[in-house]
């Protein structure tokens, strides 16, 4: 199973610490689920009640923004990096 690096933005870790980690997963949802085992309280900051990525949270695989917030079935490859950050929003 591919080894995937997952890190959460500092703005998220201000609320719930979760260090950068490596997990084993074949798709995006499995990778996020595995990473959030290390910080279960972070889950509802990233996902809403329907298990969709919140609309002002952005997920990148390497340098590419993932547009889909629902299926999260993108296939991952060995060495991919997932970055979870806050999307920009107004003042």
């Amino acid at each position: 199973m591919p080894h995937i690096q997952v890190d959460f933005a500092a703005h998220l870790q201000r609320h719930v610490p979760c260090p950068k980690q490596t997990v084993s997963a074949t798709n995006l949802r499995d990778a996020l689920d595995a990473a959030l085992l290390a910080a279960p309280a972070l889950r509802h900051y990233v996902f809403d009640e329907q298990h969709h990525i919140r609309k002002h949270v952005a997920v990148f695989i390497n340098q590419t923004l993932v547009r889909d917030r629902i299926q999260l079935n993108v296939t991952l490859n060995e060495g991919d990096s997932i970055h979870v950050i806050q999307a920009l929003s107004g003042g």
Binding site: H11, L12, H15, A41, H44, Y45, V46, D48, E49, Q50, H51, H52, R54, H56, V57, Q86, A87, S89
Partner: protein, 368 residues
């Protein structure tokens, strides 16, 4: 417990405001930068009482925080959450998101410490019996098919903004929804009935104008010593009920504008209430840019308008539905506006003093 602190929930944090010898001053600021939509104090909980703050994080959703040491420390507690949306049946096509966007109302429930109500947007009612460690959805309201007739007023989706608890019987709770009318339970939330006959929405198509299920009650307030008396500031006009919200009677207009968001009942006098008139509908600020508060002392037949101490030129403040609050003794009022104005009256609304601060937009004020 004496209510000595005013809590101001704003777009950028929660402010505690206290009376000093020289006047009311900001004493502390919590959750810097985070939108706070509602606050509740539970004096029954512990030696110093419990404080609850509802945050609406721009990126990360609704979060609740609780303090049992008067704000020295805050802990994250559970947030009300909706269940997974069904993929079949009538709810599969529900256009209302099954995700809590905001906690819009809090109230003390039952008679024991830690018994709480929370109302949300989209409109749903939640109960906690453990001080917010967990929340239970009132399913019979959420899964009532009448909910499909509700809609958002100034918001995208319907929201539950007012919760009043009958002091004679805390299992009797009445709520108001924009736009979903007035509902009541007599069994602590197990069953809900649509009440609120008599309200009129002239902006709706003809057959719907008197439908209680789609009325836009902007706020609902109950008189603590005469709990059958309830007041509503409606999208169009003010109303009063003397039968616990079953039926409402349209009141004479406080001002020609006859629009606004908050209404506050005097806790000790069923004839007295306050509103903050605003000019409808596209303007939504005080008429002529001059802030004023109106009070009735005769059950809504006549109103007095008070301006002393409030800005009278180029004031484009709007006071949201939770932007007006009163102490239990009925003497001190606080008012916060969308442009960050904060005023306090210690003579039942007849004169006002501005708190020396330029606050973020105010969502709610509350004494605790």
């Amino acid at each position: 417990m004496k209510q000595k602190t005013l809590f101001v929930s704003t777009r950028k944090g929660l402010f505690a405001v206290e009376r000093e010898s020289s006047g009311w001053r900001v004493a502390s600021h919590h959750f810097h930068g985070e939108p706070v939509t509602q606050f509740l104090g539970d004096p029954r909980d512990g030696a110093q009482g419990a404080w609850y703050a509802a945050l609406r994080m721009g990126h990360f959703g609704v979060k609740l925080r609780k303090s049992t040491d008067r704000g020295a420390t805050w802990n994250e507690i559970a947030s009300p959450a909706l269940p997974e949306k069904p993929k079949t049946g009538i709810w599969a096509d529900d256009t209302t998101p099954w995700s809590v966007d905001m906690v819009w109302a809090f109230a003390l429930a039952g008679s024991q410490a830690g018994e709480l109500w929370a109302g949300t947007m989209p409109a749903a009612m939640f109960r906690s019996i453990d001080g917010g460690a967990s929340w239970q959805l009132c399913e019979s309201l959420w899964l009532n098919e009448k909910r499909l007739g509700w809609f958002g007023g100034g918001n995208d989706h319907p929201g539950l903004h007012s919760i009043v608890v009958d002091p004679r019987d805390p299992k009797h709770v009445t709520i108001a929804i924009s736009c979903g009318g007035v509902w009541t339970t007599h069994d602590d939330g197990a069953n809900w009935s649509l009440i609120g006959a008599g309200m009129h929405a002239p902006f709706m198509p003809e057959p719907e104008q008197f439908n209680p299920n789609t009325q836009d009650a902007h706020s609902l307030s109950l008189c603590a010593v005469a709990p059958d008396t309830m007041w509503v500031q409606h999208h169009q006009g003010c109303y009063r009920s003397t039968d616990s919200g079953e039926n409402f009677k349209r009141l004479n207009a406080p001002t020609p504008a006859d629009f606004g968001f908050p209404i506050i009942a005097d806790p000790n006098n069923p004839q007295r209430a306050w509103v903050v008139p605003a000019r409808a509908d596209k303007y939504r600020y005080a008429t002529d840019g001059a802030m004023h508060v109106a009070r009735t002392d005769d059950g809504g037949n006549t109103w007095q308008v008070f301006r002393n101490g409030l800005p009278q030129t180029h004031a484009y403040d709007l006071v949201y539905r939770h932007g007006l609050a009163i102490t239990n003794d009925g003497k001190t009022l606080a008012m916060g506006s969308t442009t960050g104005g904060l005023w306090i009256s210690e003579d039942a609304g007849e004169s006002w003093s501005a708190v020396d601060a330029r606050l973020p937009p105010v969502a709610a004020v509350c004494f605790a």
